[in-house]
């Protein structure tokens, strides 16, 4: 059977999620860092919800030990994860735009990988990799904010000095030049970050929560249950955490979390 047309799928989403929300989701770019139990589930949820573009990043290949919780198929063992997940996503949501990177995220390459995303999803399994990415994204935001503040202050000062000596007629020109300067320094964009920590084991899924730790930083999970304590990852609990992350992303895109 042929896949439904783009228009049919769009109409089905609009009927369920509302036109404005679907438009916002369609315009959004989300980077998913790590395509394991969290990232593969987050990606599928976001593709189904109509997110326009996903950046899929992982350095690993599908392994038989992944199949109990990650959204791959037995016949995909050995495939590069970004490629395998792309194939699965295209079967589910044929019109989602995908960008794939088969690479390990490091402090050095992080900007080139996630720089164009509106929202970054931290979905690694390694605690140190999680901390590295969270620090990198939050430090990046802080640098952008401080550059914005400095540019604003410098522009104000420049405008003030020029205006002091200029005819009133020239004021407008000076101001518009200042705005241009400010904008050209603001090519980097601030990002939201949705990370996860603590989802291993057989505990109830009810302890998995989403917390907003600061303006642009959300953390999902129970915060405690470590895979290194000998308890494995169990599909439904990992999916519950992934669902928390994906729902947070959807709410952010639709403007339902911008309260401070």
């Amino acid at each position: 059977m042929n896949a439904p047309s783009r228009e049919e799928m769009h109409a089905a989403l609009v009927a369920r999620q509302g036109e404005k929300n679907v438009e916002k989701l369609q315009a959004a770019t989300v980077a998913v860092c790590g395509l394991g139990g969290l990232g593969s589930n987050v990606s599928i949820a976001l593709a189904r919800a109509g997110v326009g573009k996903l950046i899929l990043i992982d350095f690993d290949c599908v392994d038989v030990t992944n199949l109990h919780r990650q959204q791959y198929k037995a016949n995909q063992v050995g495939m590069e994860k970004p490629q395998a997940l792309s194939a699965n996503l295209k079967e589910i949501a044929p019109y989602v735009e995908l960008e794939t990177h088969f690479v390990r995220v490091t402090e050095e390459n992080v900007e080139s990988l996630i720089g164009n995303a509106d929202i970054v999803v931290e979905a690694f399994d390694n605690a140190e990799a999680k901390a590295m990415l969270v620090n990198a994204v939050l430090e990046r935001n802080a640098e952008i904010e401080s550059a914005e503040k400095n540019a604003e202050a410098a522009n104000k000062e420049a405008a003030y000095t020029k205006v002091e000596n200029a005819e009133a007629v020239n004021t407008k020109t000076v101001n518009s030049e200042s705005t241009k300067n400010l904008k050209s320094e603001n090519l980097k964009r601030l990002q939201y970050l949705v990370a996860a920590s603590g989802m291993a084991g057989f505990d109830t899924a009810n302890t998995i929560q989403t917390r907003r730790l600061s303006k642009r930083f959300y953390l999902c999970g129970d915060g405690v249950n470590d895979v290194n304590d000998g308890i494995g990852l169990v599909a439904p609990r990992v999916m519950a955490c992934a669902a928390h992350q994906a729902q947070t992303v959807v709410r952010l895109i639709c403007g339902m979390e911008n309260d401070g």
């Binding site: 690694f124 939050l138 802080a142 290194n228």
Partner: protein
Amino acid sequence: MIKVNGIDIESDGVSFAGKSVAEYLAIANYDCRRIAIERNGEIVPKAKYAETLLADGDSLEVVSFVGGG
């Protein structure tokens, strides 16, 4: 009063004002490779743990990541 993850770390009389974030982390036995720190809602860059001094009224969020995903 200085709070870390909502808890007053000076409640037993030990003062942390003037101590660096790095000193606090060592005393509290944190693994620096697995954490991210926000101080009053702003990230503390990893390179600045040693030079960032705690002050009375500070509220720190130390996120300690565990494995699994």
